[in-house]
């Protein structure tokens, strides 16, 4: 078992990790920037170390400062949380090289899954369905024309070295393709110094479904799926477990494929295999694997009763998986909504401010993961997530009703938040029917944005 853990993160996830560590009797060291001296994770940890100025690059992304803090305080382990250094293979390697346990997979596993082309190849080799497209990089336009037989149109041409939506072109037909491919090649070379391209069929309307897995390097299990189709600018805002869209047969196939991939790469820790699910065609396709604990992990914890962060800490401490697949029996339905410091009536403008009076929802089936307290000054330097409101009930309908009840209890004075968005979504017939896809919310927002005034909160 680990003895002393440094949490290389901030905000609600740092608080979440401190809680899990303390439950297991592990001592905790918080790190913080100069802007986070008063932060809740700093207050709750056994010790705290200032690792630099407000800018994340100089503090939460500063590997040397974090490793130094771990050494100085006698830690035997580091938890990266999500974001910041969580999927940085170099950091995982550096932690291991310093003789500390990294709570997560090996640097090699992060590297393998972090590269889109190698992740896709690994998934394909493990028998996981991938979006029809090229096997790795395409060697020139002649080879690319052959790939079109599998993909059809529309086809997406992506820079292998790209990311965050950069370096992507879509061709609707052969004429467009003949122009777009050489342009994409030149662009990729100019932007990334690497003209490598790969191609994929464009999946039009799809749901985002992901499978939670836990591995110990030898074996792996799944903890069912989550659905996160409600997204704005590719950011999830509302997550559920289980998905209401899957048949039992397809759910079994999907979850089994995630376990096969985790086993094939010798995965250690908590991870998520993400898929697009085309419900019209009843087909699912691998998108990527996230090699970390995810923001939306609590919905899985609510339906399975497993503390994913604690299991990750046990695995990092050298224990084999304590749970077998037969031990995982999901119960009921859970929903999480992300309460962000954004003003939904002003196109989600960020709203750093000071928390006034605070009323936190509670009662049966309600969980509130947050770093808020009355008087907390939300710094402008980091992301806008303030809290995650998670509800659990016997059925999806009951979970939505409970969400509405919990939102009515929630009061965060002094801040603009996304609470009015969730009150409106919970009342929407399409959301209630689960009839949504990954582009549904953006369309809904263009129709309904004017109704999202703070008057409701």
């Amino acid at each position: 078992m680990l003895k002393k853990l440094l949490i290389a993160n901030r905000g609600e996830i740092a608080v979440r990790i401190i809680r899990a560590a303390r439950d297991l009797g592990i001592a905790t060291v918080a790190v913080h920037s100069a802007a986070d001296t008063e932060a809740l994770h700093v207050q709750l940890a056994d010790e705290a170390v200032n690792i630099g100025p407000p800018a994340a690059k100089k503090s939460y992304l500063n590997m040397a400062a974090i490793l130094q803090a771990a050494t100085d305080t006698g830690c035997d382990s580091i938890h990266p949380g999500y974001g910041f250094l969580a999927e940085n293979a170099e950091f995982a390697d550096a932690v291991a090289a310093a003789g500390l346990a990294f709570v997560g997979p090996s640097g090699d596993a992060i590297r393998l899954m972090g590269d889109k082309v190698s992740a896709r190849s690994a998934a394909h080799a493990a028998g996981v369905p991938v979006v029809p497209g090229s096997t790795g990089r395409v060697a020139g336009i002649e080879a690319a024309r052959h790939v079109l037989i599998d993909t059809g149109f529309p086809v997406m041409i992506k820079a292998a070295a790209g990311g965050g939506g950069r370096g992507i072109r879509i061709a609707q037909n052969l004429t467009e393709f003949e122009t777009a491919f050489p342009q994409a090649e030149a662009e990729a070379l100019a932007a990334f110094g690497d003209g490598g391209l790969y191609m994929e069929r464009v999946i039009g309307r799809a749901r985002h479904i992901e499978v939670q897995i836990l591995g110990d390097g030898n074996d792996a299990i799944h903890l069912c799926e989550r659905e996160c189709s409600l997204q704005r600018r590719r950011q999830k805002v509302w997550e559920e477990a289980p998905s209401s869209a899957l048949s039992d047969k397809l759910r079994d196939q999907l979850c089994a494929s995630a376990v096969a991939l985790a086993r094939a790469v010798g995965y250690s820790g908590a991870g998520t295999v993400e898929y697009l699910y085309d419900d019209a065609a009843d087909q699912f396709y691998f998108i990527e694997m996230n090699t970390r604990i995810q923001v939306e992990h609590p919905v899985t914890e609510m339906i399975t009763g497993v503390d994913l962060v604690a299991e990750g800490l046990r695995i990092a401490g050298g224990e084999p998986l304590r749970l077998a697949q037969r031990d995982i029996t999901p119960r009921g339905h859970a929903i999480e909504v992300r309460i962000n410091a954004e003003d939904p009536s002003r196109d989600f403008a960020p709203f750093p401010g000071t928390v006034g009076a605070l009323r936190v929802p509670g009662g049966p089936g309600v969980r509130f993961d947050s770093m808020l307290y009355p008087g907390y000054q939300v710094p402008p330097f980091y992301d806008s997530l303030l809290a995650k409101l998670i509800v659990h009930a016997e059925t999806r309908d009951a979970a939505i009703a409970r969400l509405v009840r919990a939102l009515s209890e929630l009061q965060i004075d002094g801040m603009k938040t996304t609470k009015p968005l969730f009150q409106a979504l919970a009342a929407d017939p399409a959301v209630q029917a689960g009839a949504v896809h990954t582009r549904w919310l953006e369309g809904w927002l263009t129709e309904n944005a004017s109704r999202l005034s703070a008057a409701e909160s």
């Binding site: 800018a55 750093p352 992301d383």
Partner: protein, 77 residues
């Protein structure tokens, strides 16, 4: 003598990305509407445009430094 103030709290950047030249070199002239920098607030970027014209811009805040709303970003002649 004029000043350009930050309308937002956040992190100040003088260039659109690290591999690009600054929007305004030290000492440059500024016209109304010119972008002089970016403020990053909670991972979203906002262009800072000059509401006054002037010459010889002198930045009061370094690249990638934190600023409060209302802070002086630059002075102009």
């Amino acid at each position: 003598m004029a000043q350009i103030l930050s309308p937002l709290p956040g992190t100040f950047y003088r260039a659109a990305s690290p591999d690009q030249p600054p929007y305004k070199a030290d000492g440059a002239a500024v016209a109304v509407g010119d972008v002089i920098g970016l403020i990053e607030v909670m991972k979203s970027f906002h262009e800072i445009t000059a509401e006054v014209a002037g010459s010889n811009i002198r930045f009061a805040v370094d690249n990638e430094e934190p600023v409060m709303a209302g802070a002086i970003l630059a002075d102009l002649d």
